[in-house]
Symmetry: C2
Subunit: 597 residues, 2 copies
Amino acid sequence: MAQLRIALAQTNPVVGDFTGNADKLVEWTRRAAERDAHLVVFPELFLTGYPAEDLVLRSSFVEASRSALTAVAARLAAEGLGGLPVVVGYLDRTDGDRTDGDRADGGGKPLNAAAVLHGGEAVMRSAKHHLPNYGVFDEHRYFARGNRLPIFRLHGVDVAIAICEDLWQEGGPVSVVAEAGAGLLVVPNGSPYETDKDDVRLELCARRAREAGCALAYVNMVGGQDELIFDGDSLIVDARGELVARARRFEEELLVTDLDLPALPELPALPALPEGAAEPGDPRMGPRDDSEITVERLVLSAAPVEPYRPEPPLIAERLDDLAEIYQALVLGLRDYVAKNGFRSVILGLSGGIDSALTATIAADAIGPSRIHVVLMPSRYSSDHSLADAEELVRRQGLNARVIPIADIVTAFEKEIDLSGLAAENLQARVRGMLLMSLSNEHGHLVLTTGNKSELAVGYSTLYGDSAGGYAPIKDVLKSLVWKLAEWRNAQPGDPPIPENSITKEPSAELRPDQRDTDSLPAYDVLDPLLRDYVERDMGRDELVAAGHDPELVARILRLVDLAEYKRRQYPPGPKITSKNFGRDRRLPITNRWRESR
Amino acid sequence: MAQLRIALAQTNPVVGDFTGNADKLVEWTRRAAERDAHLVVFPELFLTGYPAEDLVLRSSFVEASRSALTAVAARLAAEGLGGLPVVVGYLDRTDGDRTDGDRADGGGKPLNAAAVLHGGEAVMRSAKHHLPNYGVFDEHRYFARGNRLPIFRLHGVDVAIAICEDLWQEGGPVSVVAEAGAGLLVVPNGSPYETDKDDVRLELCARRAREAGCALAYVNMVGGQDELIFDGDSLIVDARGELVARARRFEEELLVTDLDLPALPELPALPALPEGAAEPGDPRMGPRDDSEITVERLVLSAAPVEPYRPEPPLIAERLDDLAEIYQALVLGLRDYVAKNGFRSVILGLSGGIDSALTATIAADAIGPSRIHVVLMPSRYSSDHSLADAEELVRRQGLNARVIPIADIVTAFEKEIDLSGLAAENLQARVRGMLLMSLSNEHGHLVLTTGNKSELAVGYSTLYGDSAGGYAPIKDVLKSLVWKLAEWRNAQPGDPPIPENSITKEPSAELRPDQRDTDSLPAYDVLDPLLRDYVERDMGRDELVAAGHDPELVARILRLVDLAEYKRRQYPPGPKITSKNFGRDRRLPITNRWRESR
């Protein structure tokens, strides 16, 4: 056996920020060197940030990534870090024309690549083989398929590399690791958060480690990128699939772990190679798909390190479900604000639970001094609305102002006659305009406060309460909004949310004595139906068979189907379920198909 | 040789409207029968409408398509049309599990399919082989790949079927037609409009006909679907690639053409088959890719028809570029309004050229009586603005009202202090709110009037002039707006647009004496740069090399890059160029990459 100290750099890059990401790579590699690590692994597409979407199709962007890789490799060496091998994801391209089936422009086709940086150079390069093209992923649009399994020998241990989806699907590079023989498989990932995904990940890593017959180090990105939240959760399992180390989630972490791995004598014999030389690979068939994977080998250092005393590994404590979701929402908001260059946010506070939770998440993310709230009572606002909102402001120390909207609404009503919904919408729009005006004047990012239940059924006003730049609880069903509020209040310290905001009956207060239940079923009936229809894509018959009331199914499905246009105009918000109303759910606007038919 | 009268049903389906689309299939098949056609061909995915996006991933939707196909085949027979073979595109699925690489749910994977309906049944089924996954297309997300070339014998002529992209790419079913031997290749398409695409199509069809050694009938969908416009342009070329017939564009048309095609004795010998029996196909290799295509054969009728006197073919007159674009915009608007169930539209009329052209397109699309315009002068509106708008109303007979916004703006200003851009935006937002309020009250669809140049550089107000449901000139650069206005005025009849709206200097009129050129370069400088950057995706260095001023490049690219969030909130509008700001250009919001860096 040979010892190896591996450092998983669970880091938060910014899309398109080659300079900042390269700086971070150098800084974290130095930290790993200071901890005497033998190998550092960064996440998938770390140098570009991920996902970079159509930027990937710009040749100037691809060339910038290639140059950044070369430059950072040289810089590592110049700063005395060239001896510590770094595995990092970056954007590369094929050499030839883009001719693999698509009518794309000339020039090499982009690759979702990983490189080994060593001695001032990128000494090995490979690319992702399995390209996910479902849900939020569009990688057939962007990337050509890699067809290599790179294995480099480091201190007597053969280390193989595969990228993210290569782990999730059968066949491809991972399926030939056992045959090729490796002591460790390292996997850079950009794997977005979804509730309960962490359980799936560990199980998958354990299974693949057993199949590959070697330890497996899974390093995931962390941070928010538009609607996606990368939760980290980097981990290492041994060859039997037992968990060895696991990073904290929702924060950057350098997970340094000592491993005891099979060294050369225990591996299949390899031809003797001069140190640093690449060996031409043998083509091999992946046993479970029809692609041909070429194994590429490189020896960085053949001799094991001198035995040393290992440090105890970290296995971070697991989070309960509500803590996990709350932290995801906080991280999503913090990164959306910071990465888009905002310094403060503004939102309307109604006294209700949605805006109360949104404000609390925001305060936890960026601090109460950067939160500006506006209380905008109308002629229909009840007394407790203003009082509850003011109580929240007091508890959290937010910046607040009150702007009554009655006179502005009256000014509109002098010019046009409005009734019913149009009159209700007008009030929501006056509030939206006030927030957008203050945003333009002072540079705050406007947060919308709508939840997923409202958004699903269209119970919101386009250009009214849906006007804003970011929607922190867009993917949170109303019943979960309450649970999260209660969970947050139960944490150490004073409860930030007034009890009355949690317990009172929900109302939009756009007409006298309005209640959500005037228009919608109770949320404990609505939300399970929305979960089955929206997140699980069940059809009408399935929904009825699952026990939902047939009339309610027809009514709610009709609302959901009809609200599509409104949702298209909704701002982005953090995705926490399998189907947020975002890029993982693409529907035509013009469309007569109704599940409710 | 054998005669065959083929009817290309260049038709306009509605996404998800299985009943309406089936009705249309029966009606148009009857019309073809009344004209003694021997074969009718409908477009790609006609039964579902196209593109149906994520509806395709719902099993209830797939089953609805399969049932609709079976039902319409039976109905054709029941209505006495079972003897006339119909080729139609529909959505099918594979029999097995979805296991072709993606982690998708159970159940068969969807197929972009075509069937031959005959004698009350679907007697042949095949599926698209080449799945486009670039630009507006996401077909790797939706479909499994077909691997058959169906050939049915009709009145002694062997007729092969391929679908849309199978024509555009090398290899696949089209590449084995010559080897398999066919007298006619029919190709159902859903090929969206783009300026100058018609020239490419004819050239492509001619080339493929020569390669296949047979005549080729290309039938395209017509109509608007969200941002896409299908322009028809169905055509037939003979085996030498010479144009035989061509339909009008931007309208439904039954293109009936008599062809003289190689009959059985002139074809490679086939084993004798009982009429109506399918022959198990021989696997064949496509000569230019690595897939295996199975040729499937079916004999519907072996004997040629009795000789008859052919009708002269139609070759529709070509449209000039401006006529083509104008008709595309008219069709896009008409279908967006009708297919989404609106009866009328509303827009703000400023007296400027953008709103004047938008109103004119709308009046041409759905008639002036269904157009409602609102003139909303502010304290900064010049006299000519109101006068020019009123003149346009008079010329076209639109429904108009005047709502001054000064008092409403004052009501806002009493509550909050605004300066600069925030104060300008306020006026635009008051107008947007008035239009949305009237829309809610009366059910009109709000049209926005922004052009592509404004949209590109962010010269518009979020929730102000960009508030609305459809953006008719979203993909039209400002210099093209003027050209289209002049072109429209030059058509027969009274010029609908006041000359003054065309000739005056553009201004947003949101502050005293404002001019577009205060913030932007002249449009004859700006637009070519936008075309190169947005539509051609040229990087900064390329733009400078192409002769654009380096400082201007830096400034404008920065504006375009920064306006991304605003564009995300923009309503859909008809796509006429290679890169509309829509689904064919997907960029991260959170993104530090700047071509202007």
